[in-house]
């Protein structure tokens, strides 16, 4: 099996994760589930970054650094997401994003 074929299979898996995550982030009504969708998207990014490093440019560290940044973005997203959920729940006893539509600017 050629390296290119393996790369394409792995990237297709990453695209699948991104597609599923996007579906979840757009369709779910509760904030925590929306975050899980976003996490799945970032999971796809992790995989694509790792595959890009291994098959395309292992001599450069850039793809690895990209994966580290994606991991940090996940951590920040989680922390801020939970903080917003807690603040929102404290204010309104709600955790549904549809109930926050009045926050639209």
């Amino acid at each position: 099996m050629t390296a290119e074929l393996v790369l394409q299979i792995v990237l297709t898996v990453a695209a699948g994760l991104i597609g599923v995550g996007l579906f979840g982030a757009l369709s779910q009504q509760t904030i925590v589930m929306v975050m899980m969708g976003l996490e799945l998207v970032l999971n796809g990014v992790l995989l694509a970054g790792g595959a890009a490093w291994y098959f395309l440019a292992p001599e450069l560290p850039d793809a690895q650094v990209l994966v580290v940044v994606a991991l940090v973005v996940m951590a920040v997203e989680m922390a801020m997401g939970f903080a917003v959920t807690v603040a929102f729940y404290r204010a309104r006893q709600l955790d549904m994003i549809d109930m926050a539509s009045d926050l639209r600017g």
Partner: protein, 193 residues
């Protein structure tokens, strides 16, 4: 050109890939919030397994470490906020499911077309001896700016998250004159300050 990956590794990557997407789908299918959280964790662990096969040991292990802790915390929040934590009363909490499915599928098709039509430059890359060392030297050397920005970003996140999540200020803790001997906290903490 043959890939450096052995047949075993390719098989493992394929199985783990299917597993990660299947677990990702399960997140939005299962009723129980605990199961949804741990399905997401399974998806992360499958991706970590693929990274392990791709010789990215450090990133694989760090992904597993961070995501497990995240998901354990996530489970607490899921059960705290969701109406149906254990899936004993099935309910759907979605909006615009068809449109979202169309967007998700559309993005997947778009990416897949790109992935399978581009001529990828996979010719004879030079592999480093140790991917962990390569990453370490990059973030402490040529890519240090990235690390600095990450550090400041995480610090800002800690502050902003705490400010958003807590409803109590110093006057709640130490009284109107800020002169209470011991702060009045809902959970006293271990140091008897």
């Amino acid at each position: 050109m043959l890939s450096d990956l052995s047949g075993w590794a390719i098989t493992a990557v394929a199985i783990l890939g299917v597993l990660s997407v299947a677990a990702g789908v399960a997140v939005f299918v299962v009723d129980s919030m605990a199961r949804a959280t741990f399905a997401l964790l399974a998806s992360f662990l499958a991706v970590a397994g693929i990274l392990l096969a791709l010789d990215l040991v450090y990133l694989a292990v760090v992904t597993a470490l961070m995501m497990t802790i995240e998901m354990a915390i996530m489970a607490v929040f899921m059960i705290m906020f969701m109406m149906n934590p254990a899936g004993l009363m099935p309910m759907t909490m979605v909006h615009n499911a068809k449109g979202s499915a169309a967007v998700g599928a559309g993005v997947f098709v778009l990416l897949a077309v790109g992935i399978w039509t581009i001529d990828w430059p996979t010719m004879n890359p030079v592999r480093p001896d140790d991917s962990t060392r390569q990453l370490g030297e990059a973030i402490m050397g040529s890519h240090m700016l990235v690390m600095l920005v990450i550090g400041i970003g995480l610090f800002a996140t800690i502050l902003a998250g705490t400010v958003l999540a807590t409803a109590r200020g110093r006057y709640d803790r130490l009284g109107p004159g800020l002169d209470a001997e011991h702060p009045d906290d809902p959970v006293p903490g271990g140091l008897r300050r």
